[in-house]
Amino acid sequence: MIEIIDVRGLSCPEPVLRTLEAIKKTDKETLQILIDTETSKENIIRAVNSVKWKILEVKKELDSYRIIITKHQ
């Protein structure tokens, strides 16, 4: 089961807060984050790098982005 965190439509800084919370709680190796603004994309990439997780992929979808992150460096 893939863990997906859907933060589309949330105001700053909730997308980053929820991503960091999920990273803290999860026992999975990878997580997917759904976002809908460029601002959230930049903020989440910055936050994920600061906690030493790695961005695997940023996929552009119809009206959103899917960011796949992983624990392994």
Partner: protein, 363 residues
């Protein structure tokens, strides 16, 4: 173009934007804007409220082209970089109320976060208490965010046209301002109200104000410059990205003021400021809390409005109406000190914000 875009997401990108705002604000002051008020989103929205006749304080009425420029510049930037995205519906009326109290707090101190920094950069020691209040208010806001505070998700609007109304209103204001210039020349009555003395009468030439506003709106939209976010992200995540921009704004305004002979250190007789420190502190604490609960400082809300964010547009409208309420009911401060009913309004503001903070949760 791609390199230009990614530059603004970097540390040097946000520093560049901070320097630009700091330098241009000090220059606007030299060109005629009020002292230590080269740019002040709260004061300028208050002047707009006066210009529209929403309040009748004759000293603070002018249709500030900088504000119009911020929204339209951000709108153009969002269109060019494909970030224009009409959206809204995340507790709009709560955001309106937050905008009202943000303005009541800001007008108790006499400035938004930008002007707090510009006042400091001009040597106004009273702004230290405003800055401490701002940080305290943001700190309280972050406690709510940690407890799961949220105003809920916004929806993407299906019609592309749904995001253009706030920028269009700004364009209308600009047209009215231009029409009035012709009416003034032919000695006819104007459509809008204009101060003949006081801060509202002090302004840079319209075209300079407009062009600087457009330029700042354009680059600030792309860089996500936010004074509240700067302190919030340090408190919440120890993330200094936005703070670099705010620090650059302060430092560049300070240096420009020194060069232009606009630096006058002290606490007494500072321009458009009072030294009732407890109220300087509490006013900005209320403003800081409101900005945090609404997700952006007044400038950032204008840039978001330009992207098509209806919730941000409603917050900005709340601030304009808040200015009218402040001046109509004796809440706004003046250089003589706070208004006759400032204390009641600040207490009410804190009560309302705390209730909003405690009850708003996204399941």
């Amino acid at each position: 173009m791609k390199r230009f875009e990614t530059f603004f997401a970097t540390k040097w990108g946000i520093i560049f934007v901070g320097i630009t705002i700091g330098v241009l604000a000090s220059i606007l002051q030299k060109l005629g804007n009020p002292p230590n008020m080269g740019i002040c989103v709260a004061c300028m929205e208050r002047d707009i409220a006066g210009s529209l006749g929403f309040h009748r304080t004759e000293l603070v009425q002018y249709m500030r082209p900088e504000i119009i420029g911020f929204v339209l510049g951000a709108f153009v930037s969002a269109l060019i970089f494909k970030e224009y995205r009409p959206r809204g519906g995340s507790a709009p009326f709560v955001r309106f109320i937050l905008g009202v109290f943000a303005m009541i707090g800001a007008l108790t101190f006499l400035g938004c976060p930008w002007r707090t920094l510009l006042r400091l950069a001009g040597g106004d020691g009273n702004a230290i208490f405003g800055l401490l209040g701002l940080i305290t208010g943001i700190f309280i806001g972050t406690r709510f965010l940690k407890m799961g505070y949220s105003l809920g998700k916004s929806q993407k609007f299906s019609s592309k046209i749904s995001g253009i109304w706030f920028p269009l209103i700004m364009l209308l204001f600009l047209i009215l301002l231009f029409i009035d210039q012709f009416l003034l020349q032919s000695n006819q009555g104007t459509i809008l109200h204009y101060s003949s003395k006081g801060p509202g009468s002090m302004h840079a030439p319209i075209l300079f104000s407009l062009l600087i506003g457009l330029f700042i709106g354009f680059i600030a939209q792309k860089s996500r410059f936010c004074t509240m976010g700067a302190f919030r992200d340090i408190i919440l995540f120890k993330q200094p990205h936005l703070f670099w921009g705010v620090f650059a704004l302060f430092l560049s305004a300070f240096v420009t003021n020194l060069i232009l002979n606009q630096f006058n250190p002290g606490f007494e007789n500072q321009p458009i400021a009072h030294n009732m420190q407890i109220w300087n502190f509490l006013g900005m604490a209320l403003a800081g809390l409101s900005f945090t609960l609404a997700g952006g400082c007044p400038g950032r809300q204008l840039f978001l409005s330009g992207e098509g964010d209806n919730d941000a547009a409603i917050f900005a409208t709340g601030m304009i109406i808040g200015a009218a309420i402040s001046h109509n009911f004796g809440l706004a401060a003046s250089p003589k000190g706070i208004g006759p009913h400032t204390p009641e309004a600040i207490i009410l503001g804190f009560l309302v914000c705390l209730i909003i903070g405690f009850v708003s949760r996204e399941k």
